[in-house]
Amino acid sequence: MRKKSQERVVGAMYGYVGKLLFVDLTNRTFEVRDLDEKTARDYVGGLSLGAKILYDEMPAKTPVFAPESMIGFVSSPANGTGPFMGGRFTVVSKSPVTGGFNDASAGGNFGPLMKRAGYDAIFFKGISEKPVYVFIDDGKVEFRDATHLWGKTTMALERAIKEELGDPKVAIASIGPGGENLSNMAGIMHDEHRAAARGGSGAVMGSKKLKAVVVRGNHRVQPYDREAVLALNKEVAEWQKGPVAPVFELFTNHGTGGTYESGILNGDTSVKNWLGTAADLTEEQRKKPTSQEQDKLFKVRKYACHACPVGCGAIYSVKDGKWPIEETGRPEYETDGMFGSMLLNDDVYAINQCNFLCNEYGLDTISVGATIAWLMECYNNGVFTKEEIDGIDLTWGNADAIVAMTEKICKGEGIGKILQAGSVAAAKHFNKGFEALVHASGIEIPQHDPRWSPGLARTYQYDPTPGRHVKGGLSIHYGNQPPEVRYDYTNTGERDVNGVVYSEALYATGFCTMSDFGLPPEIHIKFLTAVTGFEYTPEEARNLGIRSYTIRHAFNLREGFRRKDFTISDRIIGIPPLKEGPTAGVTVDAKMIADNFFRELGWNLDDAVPTKESLERVGGLENVIKDLYPNG
């Protein structure tokens, strides 16, 4: 029999601290609750546990910036317990952009250190009278004045807090001025260069006057079976030397931006606000923004998140050009695409400056880039005059103009104050430019094209956290299938649901997005068992994923959303189709893919409400059943 790190004790928690912290910022009080074993087993961690707590604790239809609105930082069992690539934590809240559920995750060290500080999750409600940061020091909770820190950009803020506390090793999750200004694009930064960026969670922090959450501690969380974790890590190391080695090498050497040029060529990466193709760019214009080329100019060193053998991060220093930067994170693929091909821009100095500004002001590079693309298309079509956009000549590919507009958005100056709310809100404000909007339920679309990988249409439109390429379904990889497979819209339901099951469990356990290639299939469930001691049959593992997806969806249903309320822009699904390029002529049957998906889940097709039977079959959704079927 395999030797465990410790014998299982009835009532003991492995892989968890077993404590949840609930903080009231209005009254500056807090409450510590135990994490019960059933909730841990059913909802695991990350987005899933976060959604469960948010569903149970936050009243329905709470306005997103009201005192009762909550925001949670949620770790996962893999955080700090040894599994490779298991360092990811999740932020959950209501989204000011979509009005529905929001989750955003990030790597770095915050998740593991939050557990070291003594909590599996930290939830905030209330609104502080003055700017505040909350310091959680080995279980103790301290409210510290942040008046002097309000207005600081994120790197300066982290360094100021570390100096104030006299400890360079604390982990900090914080907002920049974007969150303070309640921008719909505001994200949460940590470890200086990592971002839980999307959906406006930074604005929720800002509305609470919560500038930062700081954690440190000495609490050691034990895995149930340490030797099993080590054995699985060995399996991962072998796997990464196998057929996936080329991709492992790509990410470890050049990060996600190494996929930029191939993405443009195959039709995955957007060009010209989703109107263009690779033919709109020269070969040189396609190559320059790749991180293979940028690394030659700017790379100082690489870095890795907690327990990650890939290490896809890098520190850049831009020493020359118009926008020198002492230190910045290497732009991710999404950022290269958003400030590159999306705007017909190949100036890598401009791309780095935009990335730097967004990170410093705490804004999501995807939404900022997409909002500029929207305005750029409008401007080039004469919808806006130069005077209306603060005298900036936003012609396609004008690097100076792109940087100037990014700066205005980050600082909330001039038209930037309107644009901070995102492209959809800006179009409504000006009452024009609607034809150039590309979004899913109000949030801008990231750099993977459903006309290339059609399953993304369902994921973008109907995932409870819409407009995300990192959510489950047929996935980005489905675009690698030959056309006769990927454009056959019949019988996609089972594969689509399987993709959701995989993805939900992956994030709940605390693994990185990159682990979809970096880990052998299904190993995340083995890791989960090794860390927590919870055994899952294949059916239970499947229900784990469906339950996680369902509780997030149920949050939206309780807010009043039904199927008709989840929208996607015509352009992104090929209405009208592109006339040239690798996806020429493609119109995605998004309705059929979604019908297949809901049918497979046993949900009503007309309103996307789960049947009572489907909820009972999954289990662990008693509160959802009570809300959706109050009369039994």
Binding site: P243, N253, L265, A278, Q292, V470
Partner: protein, 82 residues
Amino acid sequence: MKIKVSFVCQEVVGNMKDGIYEVPEGSTISDLFAVCEKENNIFINDEYRKWLLFLADGKPVKWDTVLHNVDTVHVIRAAVGG
């Protein structure tokens, strides 16, 4: 038939060189790739080949696609997210 081949997947194919490669009329992508392997003295195993996709004059093609009047072939890496 002379075809310009551009490799956008160095982590899969190593130092295979962009350039003009010649194959007989009626050759397939697979035939063209074999010529590239031979001329570069780099041979890609089946497991790594799974990462490769091809575009002929910008249009997606497969290993068994027969090449007619093609000027450029891009050899690209299958998408992996990011």
